[in-house]
C-alpha cells in the first residue's frame, strides 16, 4: 500500500490557487454554503427533527449544481452519491453537513452516516488513521466534499470514508471559518434562540 502526504491549505492565496487549478470558484462555494445555512434556518418545531440538516443538504446539493453545472461540470449520481463531476480534471464534488469544519485539530464528521457507495467513490482503505500521511487512493477520480457546519464554517476536503464516517483527509482546503469579513453577513446562531447581531465599524 502506497501512502501520500496529506495537505492542508488555509492561506487565501494557497486556497485560491488550488481552487483555480480545480476549476472551482471560492465565492461560489461560499454562496452554496450561504444557501445551505439559510435553508437550515427555516426549520421550526413543526418540521421533522432532522429538518434543518435535510433542508441544508437538499438545498446545498441544489446550489452546488446551480453554481457549477455547465461546460466543465455535470451532474453525477454514480454509486448513488449526489455530486457534480468534471470529466477533464477527474474531480467529483458533493455537499455534506458536518459537525465542525475548518478546525485543523478535528476531522470533520458527517452528520449522517455515509454509505458504501461513498466509501467506494472515495477509495477507502483498511488502514488506521495517520496524522501526516494517508493511504494513496487507488481510483482515478478525486472525490471532494464541500463540508459545511452549522455555524457556516466551510471547507473543501478530500476524505477517505470508512465505517460510514470520514477518516484520513487527503487534502483540506479551508474556505471560511463562518465569519466572512467583507460580507456583512451576521453570524448564525445554532440554537433555537433569537438571533443576535454585532455590527462592525472601523476607524478611517
Amino acid at each position: 500500500m502506497e501512502f501520500v502526504h496529506t495537505t492542508l491549505l488555509k492561506e487565501p492565496w494557497d486556497v485560491d490557487r488550488r481552487l483555480n487549478a480545480m476549476t472551482l470558484v471560492h465565492s461560489k462555494l461560499l454562496q452554496i454554503r450561504d444557501v445551505a445555512v439559510n435553508e437550515a434556518a427555516n426549520a421550526t418545531p413543526f418540521h421533522a427533527a432532522n429538518a434543518a440538516g435535510t433542508f441544508s443538504y437538499h438545498h446545498g446539493t441544489w446550489a452546488l449544481r446551480d453554481q457549477f453545472a455547465g461546460p466543465d461540470w455535470v451532474v453525477d449520481r454514480s454509486e448513488g452519491v449526489e455530486a457534480i463531476r468534471n470529466d477533464k480534471a477527474k474531480i467529483k464534488v458533493a455537499f455534506c453537513n458536518v459537525d465542525l469544519a475548518c478546525d485543523e485539530f478535528h476531522i470533520p464528521q458527517p452528520r449522517t452516516k455515509k454509505g458504501a457507495g461513498v466509501e467506494r467513490a472515495t477509495s477507502g482503505s483498511l488502514f488506521d488513521d495517520l496524522p501526516q500521511i494517508a493511504p494513496k487512493p487507488t481510483g482515478e477520480w478525486q472525490f471532494y466534499y464541500l463540508m459545511v457546519d452549522e455555524c457556516g464554517a466551510a471547507e473543501l476536503t478530500r476524505p477517505i470514508v470508512k465505517g460510514g464516517t470520514f477518516t484520513d483527509p487527503l487534502e483540506r482546503i479551508f474556505l471560511s471559518n463562518g465569519v466572512d469579513d467583507d460580507s456583512g453577513k451576521p453570524l448564525e446562531d445554532t440554537t433555537d434562540t433569537a438571533i443576535e447581531f454585532e455590527p462592525q465599524i472601523a476607524r478611517k
Binding site: 418545531p45 446562531d189 434562540t193
Partner: protein, 354 residues
C-alpha cells in the same frame, strides 16, 4: 456669509412660525420672511438675536447649504395625525441627521447597505420572507432589531420629538437607507416601528411613498410578518389565551397588541376571541403601554462610534462644535439611541512617576 436656508431650517426645527420668531427677536415678520428668502442680508446684531431665539450657534447660520430631504420621498409613520409643523420639524431633524451622518462616515467605515429592492413584490408577507431568506434569518426570532438593521447598513438616528404623532420616518439618500425613530415610545413599539420603516425601505424604494393608506398597510403587514414569521408562530402557539399572549409575545419581542393581531391574521385567534383579547389587554394597560415590557434596544454602532471618539478625547461638545450644532440637537439625534453608557474607561492603571 449668512445662509438664509439655514434660518428656515432652524426655525422649522424649533417649530416656530415666522411671526412667533419675529415677536421673540423684536423684528418684523416681513423681515424674517425677507431674510429666509435671501432678499435681505442680516447684520451681526440681527444674527445674534436669531441665534439666541432659536438656540442655534451663530456659526450654524454661516455654514454651507443644509442637506435637503425630498419630503415626497420620506415615509412617515402616523402621518395622518401629524401637523405640518411637526412634519417640518421632523424633516429638519432628518437634514441635521444627514449632516451628522456625513461627518461620522468621513471618520468611520460603517457596514455597507445590504437591503433588497422588493418594490415589485405585491405581497408584504412574501417580501418579509424574501428579506429574511436573503439575510439568512430563516424563521427564527430577531434578538436585536436595531443591531440587525445596523449590520445591514441602515443608518439609525433617534427622533427627539416629544410627541406620539411622529413615530418614525425613513428615506433613501445616495443609496443609503436612513431611519429616524421616536424614543418616547415603548421598546416593543420602537422595534415594530423600525420593522415598519424597513418595510417602506424595501417595498417603496423607487415608488413615491407619499402617505397612502395602502403603503401604510403594506409596511404594517411587512413588519408583522418580518418580526413574527408565520411558520414559527404557528409551530409554537397553541390555543392562545390572554395569559399565553402575554408570555409568548416575549419570544418575538413585540407588543401584546401586535402579537394578538398577528395571531388573528394567522387564524390562531378567532375574530371574537381577538376582540375580547384586545378589550382585556386594554383593561390591563396594554393599549397605551407595555406594563411588562422588554429592555429598550440601543444602537451598537453609535455606542462604538462614541466610545472610540471619547477614547480620542473627542467629546459630544466637540462633535457639536465641529458641526455648528447646538448640543441638544446632537443629543436628540443620537444620545437616546446610544443609551446612557457611552463613556468608556480611558487609559489603564496609574503608574508611579520616578
Amino acid at each position: 456669509m449668512f445662509n438664509p436656508r439655514r434660518l428656515s431650517l432652524a426655525r422649522m426645527r424649533r417649530r416656530k412660525t415666522a411671526r412667533a420668531l419675529a415677536e421673540e427677536t423684536g423684528l418684523a415678520a416681513d423681515t424674517i420672511s425677507r431674510l429666509e428668502a435671501g432678499s435681505n442680508a442680516p447684520d451681526e446684531t440681527t444674527i445674534e438675536k436669531l441665534s439666541k431665539a432659536l438656540g442655534f450657534p451663530v456659526a450654524f447660520f454661516m455654514d454651507a447649504d443644509p442637506e435637503d430631504i425630498d419630503t415626497g420621498a420620506v415615509s412617515f409613520r402616523s402621518f395622518s395625525k401629524m401637523s405640518a409643523r411637526e412634519r417640518d420639524a421632523a424633516i429638519s431633524a432628518g437634514s441635521l441627521g444627514l449632516q451628522l451622518s456625513f461627518w461620522v462616515e468621513a471618520k468611520f467605515s460603517l457596514p455597507k447597505p445590504n437591503l433588497l429592492d422588493l418594490s415589485y413584490e405585491t405581497n408584504p408577507e412574501a417580501a418579509a420572507i424574501s428579506l429574511r431568506q436573503y439575510w439568512g434569518l430563516g424563521e427564527r426570532p430577531i434578538g436585536n432589531m436595531l443591531a440587525l438593521l445596523e449590520t445591514q447598513g441602515v443608518r439609525l438616528f433617534s427622533l427627539s420629538e416629544d410627541t406620539a404623532s411622529v413615530n418614525a420616518f425613513s428615506f433613501w439618500r445616495d443609496d443609503k437607507p436612513f431611519v429616524f425613530l421616536n424614543n418616547f415610545k415603548t421598546a416593543e413599539s420602537s422595534i415594530y416601528d423600525s420593522a415598519h420603516e424597513l418595510g417602506h425601505l424595501v417595498l417603496h424604494k423607487h415608488g413615491d411613498p407619499k402617505e397612502t393608506r395602502s403603503a401604510e398597510r403594506e409596511a404594517n403587514a411587512f413588519a408583522s410578518a418580518f418580526l413574527m414569521p408565520a411558520k414559527d408562530v404557528k409551530a409554537r402557539v397553541r390555543r392562545p389565551t390572554i395569559e399565553t399572549v402575554l408570555t409568548d409575545k416575549a419570544r418575538w419581542r413585540v407588543s401584546a397588541m401586535a402579537f394578538a393581531y398577528r395571531l388573528n391574521k394567522l387564524g390562531l385567534l378567532s375574530e371574537w376571541h381577538y376582540k375580547s383579547t384586545c378589550i382585556e389587554l386594554g383593561k390591563r394597560g396594554y393599549r397605551l403601554g407595555e406594563p411588562v415590557g422588554i429592555e429598550r434596544e440601543t444602537s451598537i454602532i453609535w455606542k462604538k462610534v462614541l466610545s472610540q471618539l471619547w477614547s480620542e478625547r473627542t467629546t459630544k461638545n466637540d462633535i457639536a462644535l465641529s458641526l455648528n450644532l447646538p448640543l441638544d440637537e446632537l443629543e436628540g439625534l443620537i444620545w437616546n439611541l446610544a443609551g446612557p453608557e457611552v463613556r468608556p474607561k480611558i487609559g489603564g492603571e496609574l503608574r508611579a512617576i520616578k
